[in-house]
């Protein structure tokens, strides 16, 4: 036994045979995919196709019925959320829930206190307020404007979504999962967030984006995966994927051509 030499690089995230059954409903069915480091994977599909369940499975909010999840070659299947975060996977939620009573920048203090951040910073937390304000500037809060100091409860939706992004970045993750970050935002707001995500990519972050805004997603995604009824029905480059008959049927109904 043994003696195999790994020629293939271990992908950052590997999902194998992942299945989740809620009661009688199969939300995610036998899903397989690999995500190499530094890639941006777009996940699309009609409502109820299992996209958010997939995110919940990877981040530990939901325990899989069957299957396996590996991060950097280490099995993390069924780990609780706080441990998954410690490994370097962070996420955003479609419905944002900041700490409404805290000022926007103070919302970032909690993740900046995490053991992971301390470890990565060499055992010291540093000046968290300053780091928080820098992070907010990175996601488009105007520097020196009052907005960073406003209570999160008083911010408009556009800023709340940016804050959500900043929160996930504050944990200094290797993999960021963005669950419908663009939903509820205007075209202009989406256009202003796209460059922030592109910048994260150039910094080497691996990203999974669940999106309904296909146009913007296809501009920045390296690969796209299409789900329908909990199954992966296509995966590849955006243009190729949209040519697949299954995808056309799922998205447009059978009238396609």
């Amino acid at each position: 036994m043994g003696g195999y030499i790994m020629t293939e690089q271990v992908p950052l995230l590997r999902v194998k045979n992942l299945t989740k059954i809620f009661g009688g409903v199969t939300a995610v069915s036998n899903m397989d995919f690999d995500l190499p480091e530094g890639n941006l994977l777009g996940v699309i599909g009609p409502n109820g196709s299992g996209k958010t369940t997939l995110v919940n499975l990877i981040t530990g909010f939901v325990k899989p019925t069957a299957g396996r999840i590996e991060f950097r070659g280490k099995e993390i299947t069924g780990w609780p959320p706080y441990k998954v975060v410690g490994e370097g996977i962070s996420r955003t939620f479609q419905m944002v829930r900041p700490f409404y009573q805290l000022p926007a920048f103070k919302n970032l203090i909690v993740p900046l206190y995490s053991p992971r951040v301390k470890k990565l910073a060499g055992g010291k937390y540093g000046n968290r307020d300053a780091v928080a304000l820098d992070l907010l500037e990175e996601v488009g809060f105007e520097r020196d404007a009052y907005v960073s100091y406003k209570k999160a409860g008083a911010l408009p939706q556009g800023y709340l979504k940016r804050l959500e992004l900043a929160k996930s970045m504050a944990l200094r993750p290797d993999l960021i999962i963005l669950d419908e970050l663009f939903s509820g935002l205007s075209l202009a707001e989406v256009a202003s967030i796209v460059p922030i995500i592109e910048k994260l990519k150039t910094k080497g972050k691996t990203i999974i984006m669940i999106e309904h805004r296909l146009k913007e997603l296809f501009r920045i995604a390296d690969r796209v995966m299409v789900l329908n009824y909990g199954r992966k029905i296509a995966e590849g480059r955006a243009a190729e994927v949209m040519e697949s008959p299954d995808v056309k049927e799922a998205y447009l109904g059978s009238e396609g051509e």
């Binding site: 981040t59 909010f61 609780p80 959320p81 706080y82 441990k83 975060v85 410690g86 962070s90 996420r91 939620f93 419905m95 944002v96 829930r97 900041p98 700490f99 409404y100 009573q101 203090i109 909690v110 993740p111 206190y113 995490s114 053991p115 992971r116 409860g153 939706q157 709340l160 929160k167 996930s168 944990l171 509820g184």
Partner: protein, 290 residues
């Protein structure tokens, strides 16, 4: 008469605040209403008594052991019971209430009834303010209530664990995404709540006898203060303690002493009719806006 009523009103308020603090802390953080709270209170009272009289352990050590034991009991309740039914408030109430009943009635079963179950006073003696005599034990209750409030404030506002406590209290889901272990924090909040019940017990019980019925009374008083102040709100607890504490003392001194118990029940009724979330609760505001 008035000066005396004011001073004893303050002491009574401090007692109520001490009683409610632990219950409120656990609820505020993990959302678990620990109805075994009164049982933990008398459990620690009887523990100290047993350590003192059966094992002959010095008073201060007996007190410390009882506080630690109560904290451990909180952990055991959390991991043994709450964790299995977490997120189902009615089950949490029933399970903890049942457990509390079992603990308290077990003491009755083993004949822990009677006037011999008393704890010695920490500092004997008294002093007078004007014409009012006040003993050191009551003075100490007031001081400990203030000191604990300050400690809890510092803990929740200036330590990492305290921050995690507050994060969980505000939004468990968000806290989870920040890498906070919600179950561990919940268990700690339960342990801390029970330890606070024990601290309240060891400073308050020397004023009277340790009785099983006391456990039920403690639970009602803690509930009254928390409901009036708004569950989970520290400021609310302090204000409600003062309101109910002074009302009780005034009722006892100017009306009839045995009407005292009615005050907290009436207060609960009024608040539930007028402002069900309590005077200082943020619960409603925090609900999802989007």
């Amino acid at each position: 008469m008035l000066l005396g009523t004011l001073i004893y009103g303050f002491v009574n308020s401090a007692i109520l605040a001490l009683l409610a603090m632990g219950f409120n802390l656990t609820f505020g953080i993990s959302g678990v209403a620990n109805f075994a709270y009164g049982a933990v209170y008398i459990f620690s009272g009887f523990s100290v008594w047993i350590f003192l009289n059966t094992f002959g352990i010095p008073y201060l050590s007996a007190v410390l052991i009882a506080i630690v034991l109560s904290g451990l009991m909180g952990l055991a309740i959390y991991y043994g019971v709450i964790l299995r039914i977490k997120g189902m408030p009615l089950s949490e109430v029933m399970a903890t209430f049942g457990l509390g009943l079992a603990i308290m009635e077990l003491f009755r079963y083993f004949d822990f009834v009677g006037f011999r179950y008393t704890l010695p006073i920490f500092f004997d003696g008294s002093f007078s303010v004007g014409e009012v005599y006040i003993d050191y034990q009551r003075m100490m209750i007031g001081l400990i209530a203030v000191a604990l409030t300050v400690c809890l404030y510092l803990f929740t506002n200036h330590t990492r664990t305290g921050l995690a406590f507050r994060a969980i209290a505000q939004d468990e889901r968000t806290a989870l995404t920040f890498g906070i272990d919600a179950d561990l924090v919940g268990a700690l909040s339960m342990a801390l709540g029970c330890a606070l019940a024990a601290i309240a017990a060891v400073v308050i019980l020397p004023l009277g006898t340790i009785a099983v019925e006391g456990g039920y009374e403690v639970l009602i008083n803690a509930l009254a203060v928390c409901i009036v102040g708004g569950l989970g709100s520290t400021v609310g607890i302090l204000v409600a303690s003062v309101l109910i504490g002074f009302s009780q003392t005034f009722t006892a001194n100017y009306l009839e002493p045995h009407w005292m118990m009615l005050v907290s029940l009436i207060a609960i009724a009024i608040v539930l009719v007028v402002k069900p979330s309590g005077l200082f609760s943020h619960q409603k505001e925090l609900e999802e806006r989007i």
